[in-house]
Amino acid sequence: MRSILFQDKTIFWMGLCFLSLAIAALFLPNWIVNNVMFGLARGLAVLGLMLLWRTGLVSFGHALYFGIGAYGVALLEKYTGTTDIFLRLICAVIVSAIVGYLLGFILRGYRAIFFAMLSLAFSMVMYGILVKMEVLGSTDGFSVSRTTFFGWVPESKYALLLSLIIVCMASAAFVQVYLKSSLGQLSTAIKDNEIRVEYLGYSVARAVHVKYVISAIMAGLGGGLIAMALGQVDPDSMVNWTVSGELVFITIMSGAGSVVAPFIGGVVFAFLSTYASEFMPHAWQLVIGATLLGIIFFLPGGIWSLIEKLWKRGERHHG
C-alpha cells in the first residue's frame, strides 16, 4: 500500500496539481473559487460513476446519493445543530454507505438498461418523498449554515475549498489504489466477459457490490460538500433525475482513463454552465446537450483522451 502510494506516477502528478490549485486559489476571485468548488464536488460523484462505467454499468440515479449526502448534512444541522466539517462529512459517508450497501444487494444482479432504470427508480422514490414531505423541507429544501472547523468559523471560503481539495485528493488516491488491486482490476474483465471472471474464481456479484458501495460513498461525499459550498439543499437541483443525467454527462465528458479526469470534467462543466447561462440564459442546456452529442460522436474517450494525446506528443518531443 505504502509503496504504491509513493511509486504511482498518477498520484504524484495529481498531488502536484491539487497543491498548485490550492495555492492559486489564494489569488483567484471569488466566483472562480466557487465554480472550482462546485466542479470538484461534482467530480467526486463522477469519480464514483466512473468506477461503475469501467464495469460497463451506468447508474441513472446517482443523484440519490448526491441528495443523501446533501440532506444528511442539512438534517444533521437541523436536528443536532452540528456544523462541524468532520461530523458533516462522516454523516454523509455513513448514510450513503448504508443505503448503497443495502440497495447494492438488489442492484448487483442487474446490468445495462435495467441497472440504469432500477437506479433511476430508487432515486425518484427519494425525490418523491423529499418533494412532498413538509418535514423534509418539501420543494424549498433547507438552508445550510456556514461550515465550522472544530469551533472555528472561517471568514472566507478558502478553508472549505482546502478541505474539499483534501477530500478529492484522498478519494482519488484511494480509487487509484483500489483500481490497481486485483478486485479493482476485475472492472474491465467483468465488462468484457462475466462468465470467465466467475471461472477464474471471483464472485462478480461481490465485485460489483463493492464498487457500487464505493461509488455511493463518493457521490454522498460530493453531495455533502456541494451542500456546504452552496449553503442550501433542495430536491430539484440535487435529487431530481436531471441531476443524475448531468452527472452521467460529466462522466462521459471526462472519460474513464484516469482518476483525475472526473475532477477536470467537473470543473470544466461548472465553467461551461456558468458561461453558457451568463451569455445565453435561454440556451445553456442547448450548449450542454450539443456538447454531449459531440463527445459521443467525436470524442468517445472524453477530455482525458485529449490530454493523454497531448501528453504523449510532448513526451515524444522531449524524449
Binding site: K132, L292, I296
Partner: protein, 298 residues
C-alpha cells in the same frame, strides 16, 4: 361512493393521458431498442404547438371546435419534423452503440429541444382553454366534470385499438414484427429496415406530441413541461414491460389509478407510490408485468 367515483374518473383520465404519451415511448423501444428521454421534449413540443396555434386561431376568429384539428395537426407536424430530423441526422449514426450510450444521446437531444422551446416560444406560459370551454361540463355521479378530459378516455381507447389492430392484423404489423425479431434476416429478405425505423420513430414522436397537445388545453403550458412526464412514462412502460403495448395499457392504468388514490387519500405519497411500484416491478419482474416471453437467440 362519491369519493370512489371521483378517484375512478380522475384515475382513468390520467391513465388515458399517460397511455397516449407512453405508447409512443414503448413502440420506439420495442422496435429500435432506444429508451428515448427526448420523448419528454416531443410531449412538450406538441403541447406548445397546440397551445400556440389554438391561441392564434382564437384570435383570428376561428370557431372553438377548430382547436381539435389543430391539436391533431401539431402532433403530426412535430412527429414529422422532429421525428425525421432526429432519426435521420442523429440516431441513425448510433445504432451500433450500446443501449446506455443511446439513452445518453437522447438525453443530449432532450436538453437541446428543451432550450429550443424557450428560444421559439419564450418563457411566458400559454393558455389554450377554448376547446375545453367549448365542450362544457357534465354531471357524473353528482360531480361536475369537464367533458374534454373525458374525451381523453375515448382517444386513448382509439389509439390502443388502432395500435393493436395495425400490429396484429396488417401487413405493416407483420413487417414490424419481423424487424423486431431479427434485423439482419429482415434485411436479407428485402425489408427496408431503415424506412421501418424512420416510420416507427415518426409514429412514436407524433404519439408523444399528441399526449402533450391533448393535455395542453387543460393546463398552463410553461417551460419544463416535459421534465416530469418523461420519468412518469418510464415508470409506465417499465411496469408494463418495455416494448409491450398491452403492457403500456396496464402500466398506465396502474400508475393513473394509484396516483389518483394517493392524491385523494394521502397527497404526500403522490410521487412515492408511482416510483415505489416501478422499483418493485423491476426487482420482482425486471422484464415488466406483461412483457412477452423472449426466445433466446444463439
Amino acid at each position: 361512493m362519491q369519493l370512489f367515483i371521483t378517484i375512478l374518473i380522475d384515475g382513468l383520465t390520467y391513465s388515458s393521458y399517460l397511455f397516449i404519451v407512453s405508447v409512443g415511448l414503448t413502440v420506439i423501444f420495442g422496435v429500435m431498442k432506444i429508451l428515448n428521454i427526448a420523448h419528454g421534449s416531443f410531449f412538450a413540443w406538441g403541447a406548445y404547438g397546440a397551445a400556440y396555434s389554438i391561441g392564434l386561431a382564437a384570435n383570428a376568429g376561428f370557431p372553438a371546435w377548430f382547436g381539435f384539428i389543430l391539436i391533431l395537426l401539431s402532433a403530426i407536424l412535430v412527429g414529422l419534423v422532429l421525428g425525421v430530423i432526429i432519426e435521420r441526422v442523429i440516431l441513425r449514426k448510433m445504432y451500433d452503440q450500446e443501449e446506455v450510450v443511446l439513452v445518453l444521446a437522447t438525453f443530449g437531444i432532450f436538453l437541446i429541444l428543451e432550450d429550443l422551446i424557450l428560444l421559439v416560444f419564450g418563457v411566458n406560459p400559454f393558455f389554450a382553454y377554448q376547446p375545453m370551454a367549448y365542450l362544457g361540463n357534465i354531471k357524473l355521479g353528482g360531480i361536475s366534470r369537464d367533458v374534454y378530459s373525458l374525451t381523453l378516455l375515448a382517444a386513448a381507447a382509439v389509439i390502443a385499438i388502432g395500435c393493436w389492430y395495425s400490429l396484429n392484423k396488417t401487413k405493416w404489423g407483420n413487417i414490424l414484427a419481423t424487424v423486431i425479431f431479427d434485423r439482419e434476416i429482415s434485411l436479407a429478405i428485402g425489408i427496408n429496415v431503415q424506412a421501418v425505423y424512420t416510420a416507427t420513430f415518426v409514429l412514436g414522436t407524433a404519439l408523444g406530441a399528441l399526449g402533450g397537445a391533448y393535455i395542453a388545453p387543460t393546463v398552463s403550458v410553461a417551460p419544463g413541461f416535459g421534465i416530469d412526464i418523461i420519468i412518469l412514462s418510464f415508470a409506465v412502460v417499465v411496469i408494463g414491460g418495455l416494448g409491450s403495448i398491452p403492457g403500456a395499457v396496464i402500466g398506465a392504468l396502474m400508475v393513473g389509478i394509484l396516483r389518483a388514490i394517493a392524491v385523494h387519500q394521502m397527497p404526500e405519497l403522490e410521487l412515492f407510490v408511482v416510483y415505489a411500484v416501478m422499483a418493485l416491478v423491476l426487482i420482482v419482474r425486471p422484464e415488466g408485468l406483461f412483457a412477452p416471453a423472449v426466445a433466446r437467440k444463439i
